[in-house]
């Protein structure tokens, strides 16, 4: 369809060459043949998120001051949904297609065109919302967020303002032991649906920036315009770059697992904007918030935040706190620093109002997925009857089990998992016998091969080690085997804690409770110093 329209457009001389809208003062020859540079360089990230940050890279200057300051970090993540078509039209979105080939009157914002919601967007939003333990808004709606920018064809973005589809959730994660380990729960403020904007393309004689004072020679590629996004806003609860990066990595794992997005950061399918502020320890009021963009990997998330914290701490400690401005900064990968991108001039007024072209979003039908499929409903009921927590059972069935059924093209009656075992699994995680991560491993075994939770835990020896005495033995063993590192630690190289934790976790075959492990390790490390 897109290509037909594309040809139609070309046939009409009155249209200002919509194949690529380009500003040109003198030149109105606008067709852009440029290949998207990213399409040539993009490499797929490994399937499992990995954060390639050495725990030893943080600089000492930060260490010196950081104990007097407290960093507050919140993340806005945009996840591009892997629906077959865009959010409001039937165009496909293929990353790397030539500019303006995946477009139609609707996503180009032509006069008279109207949006029609792709119901998959809601389905994906519900899945992610539930997986993030959010409360769903059964009656939600779309709003228009209004601003002028060349990559925004309608002059407004269809988004959600005051009634996001999901809100008030959290994400649980275990920090890798080499970064100190430990369990973390970060609040999710909201998840809302919106459409992506197009892209500005570089031209030979002008670089592109988000500044409104654009050079006049640039082109707009609208392939991405109208692609569905979920924006996930975290509570400002992270304290370090590592925590933020782990949060993002967990989100990536989740969206891939649910099958709602490929989560590829380099292609921009998962984009993190980070807000960082720093305040003296004990101060309740937040410091001035700085937003960081252009973070293309988890390691850049981590490093950019740590750089920004140290920059702000340094300014504060030198009494130059007033030089911390509310602004958007860009992470420069080459220079390994953040630089000013644009200053915020007061609050932007987006003049939100309810989108009149789209009916209100009622989730009743989507949530009734459980009730609609009578077999799934029976399975759910049976699981609850075995004493499983209702909310957890909903989450497991709606997200992981539904995703498995979809991927394997199985009906609920064909999976090997029984309601009895699902209830058992939920109880084991809730009771701390196994971690959530291991629970998911077991789930897939159960779905594919059957068996019992207890049997698998025993067979694979997966029970989490929560006995402090047992952990203490492992700690002692590792400390004894690494006297040189222990000496370095005690002479001030405290970063080595991560190293020890990693060794201990290895010894425990990944089963040690990370919280306990770190607590005992710290006690031992600091005991005789």
């Amino acid at each position: 369809m897109a290509s037909t329209i594309f040809r139609n457009f070309q046939a009409h001389p009155f249209l200002l060459c919509p194949t690529t809208a380009l500003f040109g003062r003198r030149s109105r020859v606008l067709y852009c043949t440029m290949r998207n540079p990213e399409s040539q360089t993009a490499t797929r990230e490994k399937q499992q998120p990995q954060i390639k940050v050495s725990p030893h890279t943080q600089n000492n200057r930060l260490d010196k001051f950081s104990k007097d300051y407290d960093a507050v970090i919140g993340i806005e993540t945009h996840v591009q949904l892997s629906t077959l078509t865009k959010a409001f039209c039937s165009c496909p979105y293929d990353y790397g297609s030539p500019p303006n080939t995946n477009v139609c009157p609707i996503c180009m914002g032509l006069p008279g065109a109207l949006p029609v919601l792709n119901s998959k967007v809601i389905e994906f939003a519900v899945k992610l919302g539930l997986a993030l333990n959010c409360k769903l808004s059964l009656d939600s709606k779309f709003d228009r967020k209004q601003y002028f920018y060349p990559d925004l064809p309608k002059g407004y973005q269809i988004s959600q303002f005051d009634v996001p589809i999901a809100s008030g959730g959290y994400i649980d994660l275990d920090l890798p032991v080499e970064f100190g380990g430990g369990h973390r729960r970060f609040g999710i403020t909201r998840v809302h649906m919106e459409e992506d904007a197009g892209k500005l393309l570089h031209s030979e004689n002008g670089s592109y920036s988000q500044e409104i004072a654009l050079p006049l020679h640039f082109a707009v590629d609208l392939n991405r315009a109208g692609v569905p996004l979920l924006e996930i806003v975290s509570e400002p609860e992270m304290r370090t770059g590592i925590e933020a990066a782990e949060y993002a990595a967990e989100l990536q794992r989740l969206v891939r697992y649910l099958g709602v997005s490929n989560g590829n950061m380099q292609e921009g399918s998962l984009r993190c904007d980070v807000n960082v502020s720093v305040r003296p320890l004990g101060q309740l009021q937040f410091g001035t918030k700085v937003e960081i963009k252009n973070l293309n990997s988890f390691s850049s998330v981590s490093r950019a935040i740590d750089f920004e914290i140290s920059r702000q701490v340094q300014l504060l400690s030198q009494g130059q706190g007033d030089r911390i401005l509310q602004e958007t900064r860009q992470w420069e990968e080459g220079a390994q620093k953040t630089v000013t991108m644009r200053k915020k001039e007061g609050l932007a007024d987006y003049r939100y109002f309810p989108e009149p072209d789209l009916p209100a979003v009622s989730l009743r039908e989507d949530v009734l997925f459980l009730a609609n499929d009578i077999y799934v409903a029976n399975f759910f009921d049976a699981t609850i009857a075995k004493g499983a927590d209702v909310k957890l059972a909903t989450n497991w069935i709606m997200s992981d089990i539904a995703a498995f059924m979809k991927n394997e093209k199985l009906a609920i009656s064909e999976v090997k998992l029984t309601p009895q075992e699902l209830a058992e699994l939920i109880a084991c995680i809730k009771g701390g016998t196994i971690s959530g991560k291991i629970g998911k491993q077991i789930l897939f075994e159960l779905l594919a091969k059957g068996g019992t939770v207890k049997g698998l835990i025993k067979e694979k020896d997966l029970v989490q080690i929560v006995d402090p005495v047992e952990i203490e033995k492992m700690v002692d063993k590792v400390l004894a085997e690494n006297p040189k590192q222990l000496e370095q630690y005690r002479s001030g190289k405290t970063k080595l804690q991560g190293y020890f934790a990693g060794q201990i976790m290895k010894v425990s075959k990944g089963k040690a409770n990370p919280g306990l492990l770190n607590k005992i390790l710290l006690e031992k490390l600091n005991a005789n110093s």
Partner: protein
């Protein structure tokens, strides 16, 4: 069978001028394949010219004439084009006239000669308001910013008309993007009222109303956001139908105020408006706000008025909205509407006055909602992807200059008002409050329509006024929308039919009666309207501009 096929009683109603054949005189109550009635047989039974014939369905007459081969599509089309050519210099109803009309008629003749099926709108010339997209013609919305713009697609309503055999004769003039009540704020030309060319045709669908009034086309499409079909229908003495919000797809209609906009129909008879509505109605997968409600065959439900039945509307409860025949309304208009109410009583209706206490709240609520939505909808006209682009040094000036040069003053005023109303700190006081008023208005209509089958009112507080008269007094012009905006806020259907005249111009100025029903009850409006027009005696709604033309045809 449609009563509109009844044997005509007079020749004076026939609008078409055919030097060789008077094909439109051939109407018959018999089946379409029956022997054509000859000119002679009609003249024989003509009755004194003081009595005029009720409006006929031009669409059915054309179909009959084409299929019975009394006239060719080419001849038919030629006659309309001739009249269009003659009247257009004075009226200026069209911004663009199609150059393929004759070719399409020729194709149709070939089909008819080959005995191929032809659609129900075959040979029907349709005028399309220029804010409705047509793939093969310019579509400017009456705005300089879209000068020369040709859409890549047909609006759903246009597509349906074409699929049923209708021929789009051209694009009609309008107030820029539908913002106005006189068609004077078109960026390109001012359209004149066929009843008095020194007066406005109303607006914003003034071109579509004038074109049907002057028989430049058979029927036309308009759009109605706050009365833009009904008020010009009243000013030009034609039938105007505003459907229920959601009945007709808005896909391809350049959005003014999305929650209020509907595509509506003009015709010279109620039957034609109903046939056109039937053609364009229905759920559209390209417009999420369209309804899945069934679309009845409106025209087939129009009952024949039988002289033996003296009270064809017996028992129908009609509420005359008191606030619409009150202070500030032209006395001639009030007396015409009261006479129409009496006529309904004579037909058996039970007419009472009803009050809609929230009536006066409609106007300010309407202008806030409409201007707010328009400020958003018109953001896309930025000169970036299509339309006129300013030549500038930087992006801000590109936006600023393209819009400053491209938009007219009425559009700028509404965009500014809407931007203001949606701004942080004002949203609750204006937009949100206007939406609350809207709910109140909807509820009060519902209460009134629980008590009554239909509500009636004037379509405008005055007849057509002089060109330029209100140009510098926007508030006076806005006040003229008082009769119609409430209906849009409530999303209800309304039908305007000419019901009488007041003094003015060379032959008097027509006055329209507005009838309002519950949502999706257009069928009821059309039934009542049809009986009303068939029984309204002594009025002839053919404007003086073309009266000579029609007399000549005798």
């Amino acid at each position: 069978m449609l009563s509109t096929l009844q044997t005509p009683r007079s020749l004076s109603r026939f609008p078409l001028h055919f030097p060789s054949k008077s094909f439109l005189l051939h109407t018959s109550t018999k089946s379409l394949s029956s022997e054509p009635v000859t000119f002679a047989s009609l003249t024989d039974q003509s009755i004194p010219t003081t009595t005029t014939l009720p409006p006929q369905s031009q669409i059915l007459t054309i179909r009959h004439s084409l299929i019975s081969r009394q006239v060719t599509a080419t001849e038919l089309v030629q006659s309309y084009l001739n009249r269009l050519r003659i009247t257009e210099p004075q009226l200026k109803s069209f911004l663009h006239v199609s150059d393929t009309v004759l070719r399409e008629a020729h194709e149709l003749d070939k089909k008819i000669n080959n005995n191929e099926e032809v659609g129900p709108l075959a040979g029907v010339l349709v005028g399309v308001k220029d804010n409705i997209c047509t793939a093969d013609m310019p579509s400017t919305g009456g705005s300089r910013i879209l000068e020369g713009y040709r859409p890549a697609f047909d609006a759903t309503a246009v597509r349906k008309i074409k699929e049923l055999g209708g021929i789009v004769v051209g694009k009609t003039n309008l107030d820029e993007f539908g913002m106005g009540s006189t068609t004077e704020s078109s960026a390109f030309q001012v359209t004149a009222n066929p009843w008095d060319v020194s007066r406005v045709p109303g607006g914003s669908s003034g071109g579509s109303a004038a074109a049907v009034s002057a028989r430049q086309c058979v029927v036309s499409l308009g759009s109605d956001t706050g009365g833009s079909v009904r008020q010009p229908a009243s000013f030009c003495g034609v039938v105007g139908l505003k459907p229920t919000y959601g009945r007709v797809s808005r896909f391809g209609l350049m959005a003014y105020a999305s929650s209020l906009d509907v595509i509506g129909c003009f015709g010279s008879s109620v039957a034609d408006a109903g046939i056109l509505l039937h053609a364009i109605s229905g759920h559209d997968r390209l417009d999420a706000t369209t309804s899945k409600q069934d679309v009845p065959d409106f025209a087939s439900q129009l009952v024949s008025t039988n002289s033996s039945e003296s009270k064809p509307l017996k028992g129908l409860r009609v509420g005359l909205i008191r606030e619409t025949v009150d202070n500030g309304v032209d006395t001639g208009v009030i007396s015409t509407i009261r006479a129409a109410a009496s006529h309904l009583e004579e037909l058996g209706c039970f007419v009472t006055e009803v009050t809609l206490p929230s009536f006066s709240l409609g106007l300010p609520a309407y202008y806030i909602i409409a201007s707010s939505e328009s400020s958003s909808n018109l953001s896309r006209y930025d000169g970036v992807r299509y339309g006129n682009q300013a030549v500038t040094d930087d992006l801000n000036s590109l936006y600023g200059d393209s819009r400053a040069n491209g938009f007219g003053s009425e559009v700028k005023m509404r965009v500014l008002m809407g931007t203001y109303a949606l701004s942080a700190g004002y949203y609750d006081a204006y937009y949100k409050r206007a939406q609350q008023v809207r709910t109140i208005i909807r509820d009060s209509f519902k209460a009134a329509l629980d008590q009554n089958d239909i509500l009636i009112s004037p379509a405008s507080p005055s007849p057509a006024y002089k060109i330029g008269e209100k140009k510098n007094d926007p508030l006076a012009m806005y006040a003229g929308d008082i009769m119609t905006v409430n209906v849009n806020l409530a999303g209800l259907p309304a039908l305007v039919i000419p019901c009488g005249f007041v003094e003015g111009g060379p032959a008097g100025l027509p006055v329209g009666l507005q009838m309002i029903s519950a949502a999706y009850d257009e069928g009821k409006l059309l039934k009542v309207g049809h009986i009303f027009e068939q029984t309204l005696e002594n009025y002839k709604f053919v404007p003086p501009l073309i009266a000579d033309d029609i007399i000549t045809s005798k």
